[in-house]
Symmetry: C2
Subunit: 238 residues, 2 copies
Amino acid sequence: MTFTVTVDLVVLTIRDAALSVLLIRRAVPPFEGDYALPGGFVLEHEDLLDAAVRELQEETGVGGAGHLEQLGTYGTPDRDPRGRVVTVAYLALLPDAPAPQAGSDAAAAEWRPFASLPPLAFDHARILADGVERARAKLEYSPLATAFCPPEFTIAELRQVYEAVWATPLDLRNFHRKVSKTPGFVTPTGRTTAGERGRPARLFTRGPAEFLVPPMLRIGPDDHIGPGHHIGPEDHED
Amino acid sequence: MTFTVTVDLVVLTIRDAALSVLLIRRAVPPFEGDYALPGGFVLEHEDLLDAAVRELQEETGVGGAGHLEQLGTYGTPDRDPRGRVVTVAYLALLPDAPAPQAGSDAAAAEWRPFASLPPLAFDHARILADGVERARAKLEYSPLATAFCPPEFTIAELRQVYEAVWATPLDLRNFHRKVSKTPGFVTPTGRTTAGERGRPARLFTRGPAEFLVPPMLRIGPDDHIGPGHHIGPEDHED
DNA sequence: AAAATAGTGTCTGTTAGACAGTATCAG
DNA sequence: CTGATACTGTCTAACAGACACTATTTT
């Protein structure tokens, strides 16, 4: 038994303080004209990660910035009407800026706010939901929020990333203290912003830490677990 | 371009207070006679998760107990000398007991302690390392440790799971308090153990919580990140 | 009684959340 | 000056780690 293998990309960024997703409009059947995640076929001698990097490059023109990691693999027998297609989904986190470019099988690529999404082709709605949940969870215990920021950023920019991804307002003073006291999260550059309103802000780069100790928890310690509550990181089915 | 798709299983359990892995000896080339993770080909109309469940059933005879989740997909072009094989790895956590059974392409299946592993075929050493790291991480923020336990278990058994997976001793009194105070982690059954040495222990079942709030952190809050990994608190014994 | 295991209580330093206050810019 | 944003400090309740103590069984 043989399979077709594709990669699909959940590409996230922060645009106008809102978590946004890169979507394409399909130019060919099936689902012609529908929105979908960018992606494509894995080539004959190509590693899966290389295929994801290539597709990301083709769709966004993005270089080495940002973050890319495997999200999960989706292979339900009837997920693609063309036959048995298994897709390996990747999650990309990028700083804002790159203007999307139309790919070969994509009529157009555009950023869409996560809060108001159109219907998606295939099982891409599920893949996208898994990707956003992964991003939300990893912001807690890794310095991955910096992947949404330009090379130099302020604490306020970093806080806006957390607020956009978690869709929750955060206390800026406590946030500032927590980021400063978490070893290796950010490294001061000595430079500051200028020309903005208010006091200039110090600029930082991402620090050397791979994990945040202690983590930045989304949830207050006095929260309760109950039916309907959906808190914390999520994985796939049992 | 077409691919062969397989599932491989990282099956973990606690045996004799040690984290252990289910390995098979390959009966056919390539890597004939070497140790490997159990696994096999995905069938024509079979979902990936169904294939993992089937392989787990074939290797261990295990039913509905335990936990099974997708771990990751490995598809480096040269990972299998037979051609282009992509494998979707699954992580299974089981209570101790099931005697391994020999599968069709496996000469023998056996539990091996994670602390002393033989060399593994293909890229299975990497897959196994990823699986154990996933398990270690998930024990922090999910009640997944209960998947290693029988349907009814004591707090001490649950603590031994944490100690075995994290390879770290834990203070039994603080552990007991933390488990009891985390809402939805465990549910008392009213029954107790009997016939053992010492005071009988209350028996629990897994509670309704999907996530631990607050999490059970491996690492002390005053740990520092630096060159040279530093995980886990220092030993302490009464 | 002694040993062993289960479970509770207490003390203390640290931390998270809430919120007041100070610093430095533009206009 | 006012307004705006950046940053620091303080108070308090809750929590984590360390460790003493009580409870209930077997031998």
